[in-house]
């Protein structure tokens, strides 16, 4: 058993901040390693593979397509559905398959974030389904999923007002830190997931905001600063992933 795991098994709080570094050596405003690849699934209209630290998620977009069951159709706009699902093997202790209360809530707020930016009025009576599978979770899986989902939506050619980029900030040992990993999430004092609409290389507005823990107003201000910085870095990687797929496609097609 690694030293880290042993620490985690202790009941009491563990030290998360060491000088100006964190448990895994990152600076307070440093993201975990991120890897994004667009268009990795054949059947889906759009897809994305994303790693964020130890998180591994896959997003698929189907649609715009016919809505089933039919009575869910909306004559004025597309119906957006979002399913956040964790694989049973994605966490330390096996997760029972199927939606639990946490996934239902995450699916709801994530869908709402995307609904606010997808130009759904262009596709009346149709449905856009976004499925995100968490293959491995390590804090911040909802933000990883939203980042993958936005790339998958672009890959599917769904028109949006801009890109949705999501990132969490935590409070660990009294310090605000960007992109918390599992230990900072479990033993930290607060967790604040954000998603922003980024348009024209600028953060325009907040599409998702939740929080649990205990923070002051000033700490929230710092959280916004960190989250916006992190979001701009992720946004770049999202764009690169999309560009990469388009470039390789255009090369293949001559």
């Amino acid at each position: 058993m690694s030293e880290l795991n042993e620490k985690l098994n202790e009941k009491e709080k563990i030290q998360l901040i060491f000088g100006d570094k964190r448990l895994d050596g990152r600076k307070f405003d440093e993201l975990r390693n991120i890897k994004i690849e667009a268009g990795i699934l054949k059947r889906a209209d759009g897809s994305c593979y994303l790693e964020m630290g130890k998180n591994i998620v896959v997003a698929a977009v189907y649609g715009p397509r016919e809505v089933h069951p039919r009575h869910l159709q909306d004559p004025s706009k597309a119906v957006i559905r979002y399913r956040y699902n964790m694989a049973p093997f994605s966490v330390e202790e096996r997760k029972r398959p199927g939606p639990d209360r946490r996934s239902v809530e995450i699916s709801k707020v994530s869908r709402e974030a995307l609904e606010a930016v997808i130009m759904k009025e262009l596709f009346p009576r149709s449905g856009i389904d976004i499925f995100v599978e968490v293959l491995q979770a390590d804090a911040g899986s909802r933000t990883a999923c939203l980042n993958a989902a936005s790339v998958a939506l672009v890959d599917a050619g769904v028109p949006m007002k801009g890109m949705i980029t999501s990132i969490a900030v935590a409070k660990a040992d009294g310090v605000m830190v960007l992109d918390p990993m599992k230990e900072e999430d479990n033993y930290g004092e607060a967790d604040i997931p954000f998603a922003f609409l980024i348009r024209g290389r600028k953060i325009e507005s907040i599409a998702l905001l939740q929080m649990d823990g205990r923070v002051t107003k000033d700490e929230l201000k710092e959280a916004f600063r960190l989250a916006k910085k992190g979001a701009m870095e992720i946004y770049k990687l999202q764009k690169e992933a999309i560009m990469k797929k388009y470039v390789s496609e255009s090369v293949e097609n001559g």
Partner: protein
């Protein structure tokens, strides 16, 4: 969900009033409806409260049981929060398993109580690793005239404040009052264009589900937040809402001190 057609008709009226800087019921933008709190209304429950927020009515009942602790917190009691949006409370509610709205409601109420550490869970251990108290917070909506969330949070903390741990019934010692040490208060705002209204009524919500809920503790720390509804929020608007939420929560908290 069945469409609530009557409310839809009021949408234009709400918006036209807002343009004149007024709310349809004459309230100020940062004004709550009349709050009434009645406690100990269900004698079979360990604690209970009925909260009226204008015409919105919610009952919260607290039941307690002896159970096994979670492996990672062997010496702490457990809080379980549930919300039932029964069809009696609104023409748009349907019977059946909890939908995403009732799950979200229960989870946001739960977060406020849990994160403010309002209930001292350390004092709810009977036998470490074996027996702890389970606290069931059951939210039962009676009449949804808007802002069930704040009514439910208020009812939940009010009910907890009047809860007696039923130790005698479970033959584990003498009854004692549930140790409550903080008073989390949630404030929900409805965002309409460049304005926001606290404690939105059902008719006001007809303009669209665009909510931000901020729960604060007695030291003005933020302990829970939830942006709910598909809309985009500006950062400076967020901080305006935060200030109003903190000051409103302070006022509402005074009411809880009388319980």
């Amino acid at each position: 969900m069945v469409e609530d057609i009557l409310v839809d008709i009021k949408k234009d009226y709400v918006l036209s009033k807002l343009k004149e800087g007024e709310r349809i019921d004459g309230r100020k933008f940062n004004e709550f409806r009349k709050i009434e709190i009645q406690t100990n209304i269900i004698s079979k429950a360990e604690g209970s409260a009925l909260v009226k927020l204008g015409n919105t009515q919610v009952i919260v009942g607290i039941k307690m049981q002896v159970g096994e602790p979670f492996p990672d917190t062997p010496d702490k009691g457990i809080i379980i929060t549930n919300a039932e949006l029964v069809p009696l409370a609104s023409p748009t509610f349907e019977a059946g398993p909890p939908d995403e709205f009732s799950i979200e409601l229960a989870r946001v109420v739960d977060r406020g109580i849990r994160e403010s550490e309002a209930v001292n869970l350390n004092k709810l251990c009977i036998e470490e690793g074996e027996k702890v108290w389970l606290i069931f917070i059951d939210i039962h909506a009676l009449d949804d005239d808007g802002n069930l969330l704040d009514a439910s949070s208020l009812a939940a903390i009010s009910a907890l404040l009047t809860t007696t741990v039923p130790a005698e019934r479970f033959e584990v010692g003498d009854n004692y009052p549930l140790p409550v040490r903080d008073l989390p208060v949630s404030v929900t705002s409805l965002i309409v264009d460049d304005k926001f209204l606290v404690d939105p009524s059902r008719d006001e919500v007809s303009v669209g589900n665009r909510f931000l809920t901020i729960t604060t503790d007695q030291d003005d720390n933020v302990v829970a937040m939830q942006k709910s509804g598909s809309y985009l929020l500006k950062e400076d608007r967020f901080f305006e809402i935060l200030d109003v939420s903190i000051s409103k929560a302070r006022k509402i908290r005074e009411r809880l001190k009388d319980i």
